[in-house]
């Protein structure tokens, strides 16, 4: 696994690499499932799989530039699949920042433990929604509430799903 990680300064945290095409396929699958799943299971709309994929690859790759670029691409794709009432850039800005934050934090902390993943995902989910509300309020002049019980529940559900999804995505790592 020597070619699969790199030691950064004093932190001694692995930088994981993935099988060829894994990031692209996982991203596309997340977007398609996100769009197709709620048609049959309306409660599944509470999940934000593209966000979970952004967080996972940000935390694993630990390269802020890669993280923010991946976040931008995923966000813009999600914008364009969300219909014309969602302007291009709404999810894009939020996921760019989350990708940057996830990879920056991933470079400083060990984020392999399920408890750490749960807490980080919940925090990133809330931050993502906060960025969306900020964008809507400041740039689009659309009043949105900052907090709701639904947001709290959604953060917990997404964090719970993330623990298992991340274990699944761990299998895509190059050995």
């Amino acid at each position: 696994m020597n070619d699969a990680f790199d030691i950064r300064g004093e932190s001694h945290i692995e930088v994981h690499k993935f099988r060829a095409g894994a990031i692209i396929i996982a991203t596309l699958l997340a977007l398609v499932i996100q769009a197709a799943f709620p048609v049959h299971f309306s409660k599944a709309a509470i999940l934000d799989l593209p966000l979970l994929v952004t967080i996972y690859f940000g935390l694993s790759r630990r390269n802020p530039s890669t993280g923010l670029l991946l976040g931008m691409v995923i966000g813009l794709l999600q914008d364009s699949l969300s219909g014309p009432t969602v302007p291009l850039g709404l999810y894009g800005i939020a996921k760019t920042i989350i990708g940057y934050l996830a990879s920056s934090i991933g470079a400083r902390l060990d984020t392999e433990h399920p408890a750490a993943r749960f807490a980080l995902t919940a925090a990133f989910f809330v931050a993502h929604q906060g960025l969306m509300v900020l964008t809507r309020r400041i740039l689009l002049a659309q009043p949105e509430p900052w907090f709701s019980v639904h947001l709290f529940v959604a953060a917990l559900v997404n964090a719970f799903v993330a623990v298992f999804l991340f274990l699944l995505l761990d299998r895509l790592r190059r050995n």
Binding site: V39, S42, L77, L81, P84
Partner: protein, 300 residues
């Protein structure tokens, strides 16, 4: 040239990308452009996978509902059930097909009872990719004559309107979306007021004066004033009434089950329509099928 320290490069990149996206947002607002070209590419690339995913999920769901979910209900029959697994699997598939046939028959009956109104049935193959909007994606588009601003209904009631049409797919803004609205009126008092969404399961009727009498359970129907939907289509029923200043706060339960849409009808006209059914044959003549329609030819 000022050299940027390597540790700051990603921060500069982040700032640059955020600024670019803010500019992108600003351009869309200023020009009222919605980035159609990017959306056409993305939806065109994603819709075949969504279509396949939709059929796959439907199959798995039917299998789960009719087979696995019932497996523990009667333990005493477990042995017999094992022996009949293959047969039940076949029954499951047939039940799924029968349910689909029922839904399609309802659509066909509705279609036949409104033969003067040009409409086309479409299958729902996707939903909004995020919680920021309430949209669905249909498996038919410009090639089938579907255009922006056409109304979408089910036999139960109004669903929404087409907000984007691509060659092989179309996006529909559901009534529950915050930006959605339909011209409506109370069926008993005939009080007219638009009904819109709030991003929640219930709709709101905004401009009914406090003096007007509204009762719980009262039907809300289309008024035809929005020039998208014909008159007298069911919108929903009054579920909650609160007095406000100066208008009542009325919440409406949608007539169509917007959380479980599988097939819908798209009204293939951009001109005001009159619904004509068996009970109402003496009314105005319907427009000829396809009147006012753009030809169903793909534009590339």
């Amino acid at each position: 040239m000022v050299a940027i320290p390597s540790r700051h490069k990603s921060l500069v990149l982040l700032a640059g990308i955020i600024v670019l996206q803010v500019l992108l947002l600003a351009v869309q607002i200023k020009r009222e452009s919605k980035g159609r070209l990017i959306r056409v590419w993305t939806v065109g690339a994603a819709s075949p996978f969504e279509r396949a995913g939709s059929y796959g999920f439907g199959w798995v769901r039917d299998l789960w509902r009719h087979y696995f979910a019932l497996q523990n209900t009667t333990k005493e029959n477990e042995q017999i059930r094992h022996e009949n697994d293959a047969l039940k699997l076949q029954i499951t598939q047939l039940q799924g097909k029968a349910a689909e046939a029922d839904r399609l028959a309802a659509l066909l009956n509705f279609r036949q009872s409104h033969a003067g109104v040009p409409m086309i049935a479409a299958r729902v193959i996707g939903a909004s990719a995020g919680a920021a909007s309430q949209t669905i994606q249909l498996d038919r588009g410009e090639r089938d004559g579907i255009r922006k601003n056409m109304g979408v209904i089910t036999p139960d009631g109004v669903v929404g309107k087409v907000v984007e049409s691509y060659p092989n797919a179309a996006q529909v803004l559901l009534l529950t979306d915050k930006e959605s609205g339909v011209g409506a009126m109370l069926a008993d008092s005939r009080t007219q007021s638009p009904v819109g969404g709030q991003g929640e399961p219930l709709l709101v009727m905004k401009y009914v004066p406090n003096d007007d009498t509204v009762s719980l359970g009262e039907r809300v129907i289309t008024s035809g004033m929005d020039r998208i939907f014909p008159r007298d289509l069911p919108v929903g029923t009054v579920a909650e009434i609160k007095s406000g200043n100066p208008f009542k706060q009325i919440r409406i339960k949608p007539a169509a089950n917007l959380e479980r849409l599988e097939e819908v009808l798209v009204l293939l006209s951009l001109r005001p329509l009159e619904m004509k059914n068996e009970e109402n044959t003496g009314d105005a003549q319907p427009h000829a099928p396809g009147a006012g329609n753009p030809p169903p030819v793909a534009k590339r």
